[in-house]
Symmetry: D2
Subunit: 342 residues, 4 copies
Amino acid sequence: MTVKVAVAGATGYAGGELLRLLLAHPDIEIGALTAASSAGTPLRQHQPHLVPLADRVVTETTPEKLAGHDVVFLALPHGHSAQLAAQLGPDVLVVDLGADHRLTEETDWQRWYGGDHAGTWPYGLPELPGARERLKGSKRIAVPGCFPTGGTLALAPAFAAGLVKPEVTVVAVTGTSGAGKSLKPHLLGSEVMGSASAYGVGGAHRHTPEFAQNLSLVAGERVTVSFTPVLAPMPRGILTTASAPLAADTDLATVRSAYEKAYDAEPFVQLLPEGSWPTTAATVGSNNVQLQVAVDADAGRLVVVAAIDNLTKGTAGGAVQSMNIALGLPETTGLPAVGVAP
Amino acid sequence: MTVKVAVAGATGYAGGELLRLLLAHPDIEIGALTAASSAGTPLRQHQPHLVPLADRVVTETTPEKLAGHDVVFLALPHGHSAQLAAQLGPDVLVVDLGADHRLTEETDWQRWYGGDHAGTWPYGLPELPGARERLKGSKRIAVPGCFPTGGTLALAPAFAAGLVKPEVTVVAVTGTSGAGKSLKPHLLGSEVMGSASAYGVGGAHRHTPEFAQNLSLVAGERVTVSFTPVLAPMPRGILTTASAPLAADTDLATVRSAYEKAYDAEPFVQLLPEGSWPTTAATVGSNNVQLQVAVDADAGRLVVVAAIDNLTKGTAGGAVQSMNIALGLPETTGLPAVGVAP
Amino acid sequence: MTVKVAVAGATGYAGGELLRLLLAHPDIEIGALTAASSAGTPLRQHQPHLVPLADRVVTETTPEKLAGHDVVFLALPHGHSAQLAAQLGPDVLVVDLGADHRLTEETDWQRWYGGDHAGTWPYGLPELPGARERLKGSKRIAVPGCFPTGGTLALAPAFAAGLVKPEVTVVAVTGTSGAGKSLKPHLLGSEVMGSASAYGVGGAHRHTPEFAQNLSLVAGERVTVSFTPVLAPMPRGILTTASAPLAADTDLATVRSAYEKAYDAEPFVQLLPEGSWPTTAATVGSNNVQLQVAVDADAGRLVVVAAIDNLTKGTAGGAVQSMNIALGLPETTGLPAVGVAP
Amino acid sequence: MTVKVAVAGATGYAGGELLRLLLAHPDIEIGALTAASSAGTPLRQHQPHLVPLADRVVTETTPEKLAGHDVVFLALPHGHSAQLAAQLGPDVLVVDLGADHRLTEETDWQRWYGGDHAGTWPYGLPELPGARERLKGSKRIAVPGCFPTGGTLALAPAFAAGLVKPEVTVVAVTGTSGAGKSLKPHLLGSEVMGSASAYGVGGAHRHTPEFAQNLSLVAGERVTVSFTPVLAPMPRGILTTASAPLAADTDLATVRSAYEKAYDAEPFVQLLPEGSWPTTAATVGSNNVQLQVAVDADAGRLVVVAAIDNLTKGTAGGAVQSMNIALGLPETTGLPAVGVAP
């Protein structure tokens, strides 16, 4: 089986990572590569590491250029996918790496993004209960945000097992590629190196409602999430520290048992042995999630630390994983189980 | 007035920063420089940036070598200061940058450090209520830990004003110099660069009881602190994200007013204007604390982000600031109000 | 065909990279993993990114443990491979990533390394004239040093075409993983980040004679090399700037033509289009060499800049490439043609 | 004596460093702060580390705003200083941190910069023979480029002593702040971190003629310079590796003696003891130059490695040092002799 794939937004970081993974995918033929402002230039100018695609020419992001493919990945700014997807027809698998179809509540969309809500598509986080069933055979997939990927996987087993109260605190330290290639002063190397900084503090970051939506679904009750993203001097990686008050007096063994139950069969999630703590470096370039749990008896909180590569599991890897499920391919096909370290 | 100063632990990062500041202090004459294992070597081998002291020879850390100074700074591993201080006599100002004399509760000491508790010295965080009075004329000073410096200053005004409940969550992103020069594999450049990692999770870090002690004192009730330190790829800086549930429905103006009241007269603390968020880069090399506050109405939490240089305000700068107060010098003497950026 | 492989030195950076590549190699079965001081520990403690091998236990580096494999990779400090190889027998393919068998001149060995010279093995830089013939079917391979890999490939075409005089200057900027996991103060993250430094200046670095040997062979006359390695704050990558006086008045077209002739058929070497300059980031995790040439008419020199990943093409990738040739496998099998960026 | 100073280009990296130094200068009163596009904004938005100037408002860069000061620093793109200086009058000390007045040859200007040559001002590298005499009392100063500062000081003593031939090779590894705050994709943190790259190769960089001009002056004959700048992942610092063929058989003692003679009385230049090699980290934030020399007998070359902070000694520190001389102040006034490390 050969699946012909187009990538819209091929010159950005998400698009580049997608192409890196697709090049290693045995069932994929890479078709159109499109971008907004770079049409007509060779891909090498934007993605010099993608040597086998160096001479491919980027075209405009139009329904015409994206037509004729089995799968179309959309790595576009929010607000651009709904109309494009509509023109691609219902038989094409459209995988949206943007935010347009993640939220279920229109009021959330309007508050955090503004404008019309494009509707909700099956959510591409296969490790969530019931997710694989919803993805199988689906022709539309909403890829999760990079922060909610780490934070949801960090706490979902605790909520599923009723171990914590629905008042979550998440601080997630992220590499700079999550901010994309946009030319903003605070993203210059001179500003980023040697510096840590927070942004979108106090519930202002657009991933906040997605966190709450995911965890509320698992918890079966409304979960509030105090979310703070922190920019750190590294290109890739998210280290999530998520905590919540313990619902009752719980010991570490009970917690570990809940996480083992949730993740032992998961191909890309590793609960580390006691005493080991995750590093983002160990996940770079892989589709893995590495996590560790702790019970803070004094503070009465469960604390979970999870490491992912924001571009792989947090974006492009998660997208390919869900595509595999939707197409009926083995879920791990083409996805790196091994990181690039140091 | 010329104050003769000795530094024990002159070859480490805290000792080096101390010497950098003391070289710029108009009232200081730098005397003995001592270290455990490097006695007999010139300082240039350990601190090549301290050019005016390049040819000074490091001696052993003994009471004899430290005698004859007005002030002795101890930048030593914990457990080494009590005995040394006793031998220096009651008229020498001893400033302990280690942990030995920070904690008031013997049980806390025994649980987190072990062994006999050396007693409690006046705590060198001048911005805390009543601290300056306790430091003035004192002959013993316990310099705060780097993490509690940032975290305490982030939340003290909120507790002083009764704005938050005593259940605090702190995630602090730190540069690697906080771990010192110890040769551990996870501190190698190859491991650190490109990686974020947590450690001492779930209340295991030794700064946890110091946090709780400080905030409980300000709050007038027992405060619990869930503290997670995160190692980030930068040499210096701590970015603290501290949050707590709001005690009542509070708006941002009320919060800002409480922080302005607490810090407007402080020479080294800057509450940033609304819309600006602190970066550790802006504080590097300075004794400043830059902070910003947010009210998360959905989560019902106050969130405060504070940036410091862990080696300056977080260690050596805080030590010199307290020394100035103890000696009756203007508090800001010799302390940089300006960072080195980018 | 399944080739059973052992790796001696599996806990270091070279060993880890080798295993990362071997895990993706379709013809390889990974057998014994050995190390000097970590015998008895699971590999996850040393290589947390190699998830499929996490539970494999490291054993001692002895001929017994290494016996029974088709291929044995030796990633050991110099001086350890000759005796080990002798005990493995002549039918086992031994690939030495260390320095022991690279140099042809005993006097060079004694001057730069000291002790007895272990002899010379076929040199694993397939892109050199005649190298593939020497590697085919060989049971012993000496993998080049990381610096000579970049520097030799940068200048070999110019010498082969007689374009330059035999007085070479090379400055190579390297990531820290080239120094391995040894616990030395100057390799601490706090020291490395934000700093560039040179070492082994003035011909003192042990790779100097290897450079000269390679280029002299291609040039057919004695080439002198002034080599300066520079440590930069990045985990991986070598950016080589190599230059030599032009033999005669030469234009850029002539130079490019010589390089195209040398490299157009090479699977892992890319001469970039005019106007593009290599970055090490574009090669990270790949077996690629990206290079660009310039003619400095004022200074009368050819200047070549080449980027590689020191652990991949510079060490483990080069080793696997040569192994493939020796075993008669397609040369590119299992080797990444695509980097991981950003 | 109080000297009133204006800074044109106060929002950039050079301007920020200048202000950092001027704030510590006892004889300076900081007057107008101007910038091209940020007029009307408070300085804190651009230089959050300059706390004492946080509320100062940036004004337009016009002769009117710059009038009424004793000294005017111009940190502007090239081509903007001549006209501005003419309007400031002959009694104002104008210190140009840009390139306009560095080159003596009009043909060099036209080839590397283009347009009309604005003329030549006294060159602000006090360590060069005769420079202090030319600077004393001067009302115009051309501050050297950051690369020529390091490279000239690395080789001037060797040329002055006739130790080397006039065919120089320089590779200089620089931090990103040298490129300023311009929003270019290759300067994004995601691109810079983990990567080394060369640019302006083959004599294309505009600092090339300045190198040659300086060294030719010292040598008394035409010196050619093959110059390659390399961008490394650090905000500050330049590590220069400069080499040239030895004029005759020379030993290290002779070389060291020439450098000691040249630099022993220099307040900001340190020839390190044998066996020590400079790191840029040791010079960060200081006005120091740290260097080391080696004789490569095999290659017949002198190799010199020099470390500076590109923003301090390489730009703003050098500017203040020359200003001090021009004004008759002690040369080291207000200039940091101590770096900020780690």
